[in-house]
Symmetry: none
DNA sequence: TAGGCCACCCCATGAACGTGGGGGGTGGTC
DNA sequence: GACCACCCCCCACGTTCATGGGGTGGCCTA
């Protein structure tokens, strides 16, 4: 952020792609090349020197994994990390984002879009390729879907889930009872049952547990 | 999926934008216009007839909210829903995705990208504008950072947030106190402060509120 | 140096919650 | 008809929570 020129680092082992990326960077206004390496080790050293504002990072490298470099970057600088890879599988995507990546693009991203996404990342947005976003979204809404299902035998009844959802929205016994048109005692009964099935002893535990299992989802 | 031609429905109240969208659809190979409406009610009727494969949906409509239509689509057909709106705020994005939207694009999306994203959605991918993806990602991995700043004046202190997170994981006063190496009384003090700032009167309310605002995130 | 915000500690009281019991009623299955 | 699962109601007891007070010491900024 020294000036209006953002310094970009590249970590990509494929020779031709690396050259191509360099080309894109150097021919774009507002971007400058900070470093360009083909190995994790090299990039690590280079980034300590060059202090990039953003790094384009491949995942599969000869001497390690791109995420190792992401971790290094994130722990030593405030630079952005944009994953640029052929690996479009669920695990790669999720791991990368979890590791702190600021965006995840597949290598077939056209040059224009690449430029645009670099700019966006620098502005604090989060470019994610549609394919990758699918996984993210999956995880977020109904993680239960992916994770198969399994889980303990005692599933909550619809009524119990209803009560739990009300609780998770902050309602009290009294309020939940009114909302469902029940007596407080009945709410209490459901609570007992819920706690027993979930093996917990308080509403926050129950909510936490239910959320973990995907019984209720965020915002519920 | 009848042939290789995908039937597209449009729900958009802005006259000129609607015409523009129609234009894009009809001039694209592989796409055909199923219907084009400016109201939720109209779209509902039209979609029952026209059986679209994918719908472009605006959120703010004269007679209701685009999400109502999403719900209708999702419950009656297997058509994809692509949100196309000017509303780029966190709540809109999350609600839309939660409602079942298959993608979320802002209206400033250029025509080429729009075409591409329609195709992608049809293929089962999830196009999400970088801006929107930011929220999604935030929600997912707890990085409540970014989001600019703004927000109400009474921000929670780090300690208060810590306590709140422990609560959200189901801990009691006692347990939270032990975890943080504090006395129960101190926990109680933070609780008071938290409730005051968040204007709530119970821990589940506080957790709910904090989650809404993005103070704490799912998984926390 | 006073005034503010923060972290931390303590006490007390009433309301809300958790959990043990006791009943009802429907609707299904062996 | 006996046996479940689910839905609903009630009582009572002990615990936890919510909320009002009362403090201390540190740091920072006016």
């Amino acid at each position: 952020m020294t000036a209006t020129i953002a310094r970009i680092g590249i970590l990509e082992d494929d020779e031709s792609l690396r050259l191509y990326l360099e080309e894109v960077i150097t021919t774009t206004d507002g971007l400058a090349l900070a470093f360009s390496e083909g190995t994790v080790a090299g990039a690590r050293l280079a980034s300590d020197e060059a202090r990039p504002d953003l790094c384009l990072i491949d995942l599969k490298l000869p001497d390690g994994h791109g995420l190792d470099f992401v971790a290094h970057i994130k722990s030593t600088t405030s630079a952005k990390c944009l994953i640029l890879t052929v690996l479009g599988d669920r695990t790669s995507v999720l791991l990368a984002l979890r590791a702190g990546a600021d965006g995840y693009l597949l290598k077939d991203t056209p040059p224009d879009l690449l430029r645009a996404n670099i700019m966006r990342t620098l502005r604090g947005e989060t470019p994610i390729s549609p394919q990758a976003a699918t996984f993210l979204l999956e995880m977020w809404r109904g993680a239960e879907a992916a994770t198969v299902s399994e889980q303990s035998e005692d599933a909550l009844t619809t009524r119990e889930v209803e009560v739990l959802k009300l609780f998770s929205r902050g309602l009290s016994y009294r309020e939940a009872a009114d909302t469902l048109g029940l007596s407080q005692h009945t709410i209490g009964d459901y609570v007992k049952s819920i706690y027993r099935k979930l093996r917990v002893h308080s509403r926050t535990e129950a909510i936490f547990e239910a959320r973990q299992v995907g019984l209720i989802s965020p915002l519920d």
